[in-house]
């Protein structure tokens, strides 16, 4: 079967005045719009472009493009075409092998409405308590259901195109009608990637923020306002579904949490930088992490609220060192309804 092709509308770019995809990029200097436009044309036309080498795969231009034209997916396509490696080859090999479907279906007692744990064991710890009453057992996890969006970081659109249709099929075959995605990467895949590649999605993806918000409203009598100031850590894959960001404000509103207005939030957010470490090494990654955390401190955050477990892994202990309490969004909701934080600080300084 031929692989699905990216639906990219060149005419939109031709008409686009701002070239926001490149102008807003935090890792390249394209303040000059004309320069940006020229360079972007090179990308589209499959010519050599500095963009392909310089892109850190932060995903953000997916959000910057006001026309939903998938500039980042285009970059990934072009990187792969030209054999450009955003990350070292063995890392890419490891990822490709690690997530390869092998016919091991890790499922709970799946019902029409199910939770997707993606490939993240953290959710075994997080999914507990009243928030998940009536659904906790309806779970899918692992390679057979893994969205594969991670290969966007590795210039391997071909792996996504190859595996994703089967993944969608696997989910459908479980009889799932509504999939509550606990990771933005999955939600973004089933809302943005599938449509960009013309892959039919025969179930309804629901972002877990929407789910939590709904549950909290049902449990509102239990909510005791937390009255805290929190920095929100936006993750790379949130760029695939920026339309869900309002739920952060909605949930914080219900819980009595102030989302501190800081420099690196919302469209200007900085990612956790661990992918940057793998791709570019420690200097850029350390710089991004430091700017991000300093910013949280500067704006008086008491908590740092995480959406993505991978961000948690790379940043939780670092924010804690600066006196900020790390907490996952699910745990934050639990705190407000009188339950305990389940995902705790990783013990990185292991036994000697």
């Amino acid at each position: 079967m031929p692989l699905p092709e990216l639906k990219f509308d060149r005419t939109k770019c031709a008409e686009c005045q701002a070239t926001s995809c490149l102008v807003k990029c935090q890792y390249m200097d394209f303040k000059d719009k004309d320069k940006a436009k020229k360079e972007w044309q090179k990308v589209i036309n499959s010519e050599d472009s500095s963009v392909l080498e310089a892109c850190t795969t932060c995903y953000a231009c997916e959000e910057y493009c006001p026309f939903g034209n998938h500039p980042f997916y285009m970059i990934v396509e072009r990187q792969e075409e030209k054999g450009i490696l955003p990350a070292p080859r063995p890392i890419v090999t490891m990822w490709i092998n690690q997530c390869q479907p092998v016919g091991r279906f890790m499922v709970g007692k799946v019902e029409e409405r199910a939770l997707s744990y993606c490939f993240l064991p953290h959710f075994n710890t997080l999914v507990k308590g009243k928030l998940f009453d009536g659904i906790a057992w309806s779970v899918i996890f692992g390679q057979e259901f893994f969205c594969n969006a991670v290969y966007l970081h590795y210039a391997k659109a071909s792996v996504i195109k190859d595996r994703l249709p089967k993944i969608v099929e696997n989910i459908k075959n479980q009889g799932i009608k509504e999939l509550v995605c606990l990771h933005d990467e999955c939600y973004g895949t089933f809302t943005s990637l599938t449509s960009a590649y013309g892959i039919d999605t025969p179930f309804k993806p629901i972002h877990y923020y929407e789910y939590l918000y709904g549950r909290l409203k049902e449990l509102k009598d239990l909510i005791k306002p937390l009255n805290i100031k929190a920095a929100y850590q936006r993750n790379c894959s949130a760029r695939l579904c920026p339309e869900t960001d309002h739920y952060v404000d909605d949930i914080f509103g219900l819980l009595g949490v102030e989302r501190v207005k800081r420099e690196y939030d919302r469209e200007n957010a900085l990612c956790c930088a661990e992918v940057l470490r793998m791709a570019r090494g420690p200097v850029l990654a350390d710089d991004v992490q430091k700017r991000n955390i300093d910013d949280m401190v500067r704006f008086g955050a008491e908590y740092c609220v995480f959406n993505c477990p991978a961000c948690w892994d790379s940043l939780a202990h670092k924010v804690a060192k600066q006196g900020i309490k790390p907490i996952h969004m699910i745990d934050l909701c639990k705190l407000a309804i009188g339950e305990e934080q389940a995902l705790r600080l990783p013990e990185l300084v292991a036994e000697v």
């Binding site: 070292p88 063995p90 890392i91 490891m94 092998n97 420690p282 300084v349």
Partner: protein
């Protein structure tokens, strides 16, 4: 020769009846180890508690010309504790005391059956600033036996073989005399196994219990920093591994370098996992060392041949554990408790050739393989394990694993490696290749120390 029952009575007189057995169950158990060597039953299993008891037992055995085989945890896996000619297996497990820690001179004195696990917990509790070089064998492995077979551990990159860290010995000679080796022979301090005296420790280390029974051992301890971390690098080019190891070692910042390769689980396939362990007393120290490590490999990172794998705490935990949990898990991957490896000590430049051979042999004999290489002594050599796991209930699989191991050992020897903790078959290969004058010297030493040939017969036997 005295009758078996008279010998039994004599042994009971020495250690008490609870600590001697000639029963079928014990003889069955002590006839084998977890590896592939065929079993052979002892006549007696004896568990001494004191040096004096060991002396008495050895004197008795020497008088009666009964073979005697000292045994720790039996985890060397190459049949070194299988009593090839029957006789007595001397289980050292009751001699498990930690006798002294000298913080300022940095050594510990332990008895002949003290385990690595026990010493680790003892130091953590009582001397948290000190540590020893822990091997990745299960924690019941004994310190003395590990030194006797020239084991390697978590500090071997910096300080050499675990036997290089021995700092004095007390030995019961095969004729029953008690002998002190190293500084403890002239001083109350156990800080040196040889220098400035003639280094006699070589008469016992590496001899697999064929020249005496070590009843006490001094072991060097090293600083235990407050923090420890592992940096995990991946490459898909075997030919780069030696240089990567050397570059890491060159930083003089890395305490342990381990390279692993295995085809399953899938995430390991096609890449070599290089673990560089660093320690520090502060974040700044750790950060500085991280930077040095990065700098050392930067050229390969830029060429995209080497990458750093970001690791979640879940992933890190088994890598940080001592002994490594991953290794112990692999040891039972085929379910059925069979695991053995040939671990030649070899120049690190041999890594690519050894990996190729391992893959070739595993395919040829259809066995599940893994390899772990550990850098020793700043790159002077490495231990490269050709590891195979098998189901003990599957005799065909066991036979294939044995063939695979034998072929790997032969290959390693041809390539200039020296077989580590060699089984009887491998000892023969080694001796066939050895300088004849060296062999004569070994034979003279053995005859001098053990005139009746009672100590672990079959091992290091020069024909």
């Amino acid at each position: 020769m005295t009758t078996t029952s008279a010998l039994y009575d004599s042994l009971v007189k020495i250690v008490g009846k609870d600590f001697v057995s000639d029963q079928k169950e014990e003889r069955y158990f002590y006839a084998r180890d977890g590896g592939l060597m065929p079993p052979h039953e002892p006549d007696f299993v004896v568990m001494p508690k004191t040096t004096e008891e060991v002396q008495e037992i050895v004197k008795l055995a020497n008088r009666e010309k009964v073979p005697i085989v000292p045994k720790g945890a039996g985890l060397a896996l190459t049949g070194l504790v299988i009593p090839q000619l029957g006789g007595i297996v001397l289980d050292m497990n009751r001699m498990d005391r930690i006798l002294e820690v000298n913080e300022k001179a940095g050594y510990v004195v332990v008895e002949g059956g003290t385990t690595h696990g026990a010493l680790k917990s003892y130091l953590q509790k009582h001397h948290p600033n000190l540590r020893h070089s822990i091997p990745d064998s299960p924690p019941i492995a004994t310190i003395v036996a590990n030194a006797v077979i020239h084991g390697q551990g978590r500090l071997s990159q910096q300080h050499g073989f675990n036997s290089d860290m021995v700092s004095s010995l007390e030995v019961v000679l095969p004729t029953g005399e008690l002998c002190r080796i190293g500084s403890c022979s002239v001083s109350s301090y156990w800080f040196s196994k040889g220098p400035p005296l003639p280094d006699l420790s070589g008469l016992f280390l590496g001899w697999f219990g064929t020249t005496g029974i070590i009843t006490k051992l001094g072991l060097k301890l090293y600083p235990c920093k407050k923090m420890r971390d592992v940096m995990l690098f991946l490459t898909d080019k075997a030919e780069l591994v030696p240089d990567i190891m050397l570059r890491l070692s060159h930083t003089e910042m890395v305490e342990d370098v381990v390279v692993s390769a295995q085809p399953l689980p899938l995430r390991f396939r096609g890449t070599f996992w290089i673990m560089a362990y660093i320690t520090g007393d502060s974040d700044e120290e750790l950060e500085f060392k991280r930077k040095m490590v990065w700098d050392a490999l930067w050229e390969y990172f830029e060429s995209r041949d080497v990458g750093l794998l970001s690791t979640s705490p879940e992933m890190k935990a088994p890598l940080m554990s001592m002994p490594s949990k991953d290794l112990t898990r692999f040891a039972d991957v085929s379910k059925g408790g069979g695991f053995q490896y040939a671990g030649p000590i070899t120049p690190i430049e041999k890594f690519p050739a050894f990996i190729r051979k391992l893959e070739e042999v595993a395919t040829k004999y259809n066995v599940f393989y893994a390899s772990t290489a550990r850098l020793i002594d700043a790159g002077h050599c490495m231990m490269f394990s050709f590891s195979f796991s098998f189901n003990r209930a599957n005799s065909d699989e066991m036979a294939r694993a044995k063939k695979a191991l034998d072929e790997c050992s032969k290959f390693a020897l041809e390539e200039g490696g020296v077989l580590w903790k060699a089984d009887i078959y491998e000892q023969r290969l080694l001796m066939d290749k050895m300088d004849p004058n060296t062999l004569v010297l070994m034979k003279k030493i053995k005859q001098l120390l053990d005139p009746n040939g009672i100590m672990n017969p079959g091992n290091w036997e020069v024909k």
